[in-house]
Amino acid sequence: MNAENPKAETLREDVEHAERVPTTGESAGARTVAAVPAKKIEGRSPWALAWDRLRRDKVAMISLLIIVLIALMAIFAPLFTAWTGHPPNEQYHSTGLTLNGLPKPPSSTFYLGTDDLGRDVLVRIAYGARISLLVGVIATLITVAIGVVVGLAAGFLGGLVDTALARLIDVVLSVPFLLVAIALVSITGPSLTVTILVIGFFSWASVARIVRGQVLSLREREFVEAARSLGAGSSRIMFVDILPNVLAQVIVYTTLLIPVVIVVQATLSFLGLGLPPPTADWGGMISEGQAYYRVAWWFVLFPSVALVITTLAFNLFGDGVRDAFDPRTDQLLNK
């Protein structure tokens, strides 16, 4: 009994919340009525509604397709080696470099040209996608996990906990992130784990701030009181009752955070603090290509294009997800 009631309460609250999200203010009722055509009314969860909207968003769907393709490229990177016959770190000193020892332009042997050591740029881009996606996704998940827990605790527990955590958020937000990250990586030595941890450690604060703000208003609502009167403990209320209500925002933020993290990772690599060579990653390739941009444009251009397409796809998809959960801007325009 105890287990069922709060859930029902949350569900009802969810529906209520979803109705409230699209429109603010008094006109909510009027607009909802106007928007519903004379059709059989069926109950749909906000998640189903959002998914429905997202599916109809062409740009978001195309971006999702591109993301999937890039992910496939990363997973099946060895296939590129099989196709071209070039392992990612193999240096072709005789066929892959000109007589002066410079990179060779795109040709039928090296589809996207070679780099300064005579390695195949195409194969290295495929392998580089692994690093970008891996760091992008894992570091984002760590960031969001820390941010959500801290935000929930600060917002819900209040009092001294809140004061301490809020100050901590302020401190982390005012640290010049990239500078400290660079300094840290230079001390510990570059590696995948360090990169992920550094990004996670410095980015959670903005997530925590958003979640905290939401929780501060949610905890005053009736359903929290109801849950408490049913005897639910703090952690149960936080994670079972309140968390689902901030989840939509967290998901939106997560999708938009991934491209940011990918850029940060590439930037660290660009500054020479990415992964130890010869591991292929996009930022590192661009950094190596930088010195050759006058004589070998392909060396710097193709990894850059790969990087920008990836972040652009994630950003467009993230925008779609946000619009799906919060179609307010659209409704403003349709008035």
Partner: protein
């Protein structure tokens, strides 16, 4: 207002104190072999010990920390390991470059960002709106160094090859030497930094402007017969700018990252490039000094942003 300022300043000092501890702890606790490097390849242990003693590295950590904070409070951030130049001197030399770069870029990105946002919001779903939305999203997705390299390739390398020597590849000319050359040396870095950041502002201004323009008081203003231009600029923009100002405060921290990258790409010897060089040489006092200085700048700027916020939006009470 005064109470608010005092409170924020105290909080800022507290934040800075935490940062000194964190930075100091991180950088000085980790083992480093500066003394070894400095001593050269054939150094005897005695020489290394002597160097450690001279740099104060043989002292217990807490003593190093208190010396550091004590000196910092007297405006002395220590001396760099290699040439014994005061860190404050190094910062003072690099600062004008970084300030020139970020101030110019900030003005540019505010104009581009807010301007495009207003154009988008006034005619939503027009070709201009869609074009600007795509434009800003592309730049938003572009890492600073990629944009910088694109500029270098097309606007410096290709144009110069074609005989138009308009943009230099890098280097810095002080403003006091030659204002025209100063602007010329910074124009590519300005745009590099500004375009990436402007995108956020375009999106933000567009969204908040759309919200504001659908408010009742805007309808009132229009029905009073005020010209559309004035309605948008005076009545709309002012309240639409509040979230933009908040974002500006948040971005100041991020700006430092962009500055580091831009200065590296265009080889401008500002704070960013200096710190990267210091990091590569493990020159701890310089790293710590710059990180601390940059944090202080962010903290200070955030206080200023809060004040501007209150001026723009009288509903905000500072307490």
């Amino acid at each position: 207002m005064i109470r608010f300022l005092i409170r924020r300043t105290l909080l800022g000092i507290f934040v800075l104190w935490l940062i000194t501890m964190a930075v100091f702890g991180l950088f000085y606790v980790t083992p480093n072999n500066v003394a070894r490097t400095l001593a050269g390849r054939q150094a005897t242990p005695a020489t290394i010990h002597l160097i450690q003693e001279r740099l104060g590295l043989d002292q217990p950590l807490w003593k190093q920390y208190f010396d550091f904070v004590g000196n910092a409070l007297h405006g002395n951030l220590g001396y760099d390991y290699y040439h014994q130049v005061p860190v404050t001197t190094i910062i003072a030399q690099a600062l004008p470059i970084t300030v020139s770069l970020s101030l110019g870029a900030a003005i540019l990105w505010m104009i581009i960002g807010v301007g495009n946002g207003v154009i988008s919001a006034v005619r939503p779903r027009s070709i201009a709106d869609r074009g600007l939305t795509v434009f800003s999203l592309v730049f938003y997705s572009m890492p600073t160094f990629v944009l910088g390299l694109l500029f270098l390739y097309f606007l410096y390398f290709k144009l110069t090859l074609a005989g138009y020597d308009w943009f230099p590849a890098g280097g810095y000319v002080p403003l006091t030497d030659d204002p025209a050359q100063w602007a010329r040396s910074l124009i590519l870095p300005w745009f590099t930094l500004a375009l990436v950041l402007a995108a956020t502002y375009t999106r933000l201004t567009r969204g908040s402007m759309l919200d504001v323009l659908s408010e009742d008081y805007i309808r009132t203003a229009r029905s009073k017969g005020i010209r559309e231009r004035r309605v948008v600029m005076r009545h709309g923009l002012r309240s639409a700018l509040t979230p933009v100002v908040t974002q500006f405060g948040i971005d100041l921290g991020q700006l430092i990252g962009g500055v580091v990258v831009t200065e590296t790409v265009f080889s401008l010897p500002g704070l960013g490039k200096t710190s990267i060089d210091a990091i590569n040489q493990q020159d701890l006092p310089v790293i710590v000094g710059i990180v601390l200085f940059a944090s202080a700048a962010v903290v200070l700027a955030n206080i200023l942003v809060d004040v501007v916020y209150a001026v723009l939006d009288p509903r905000v009470r500072l307490h």
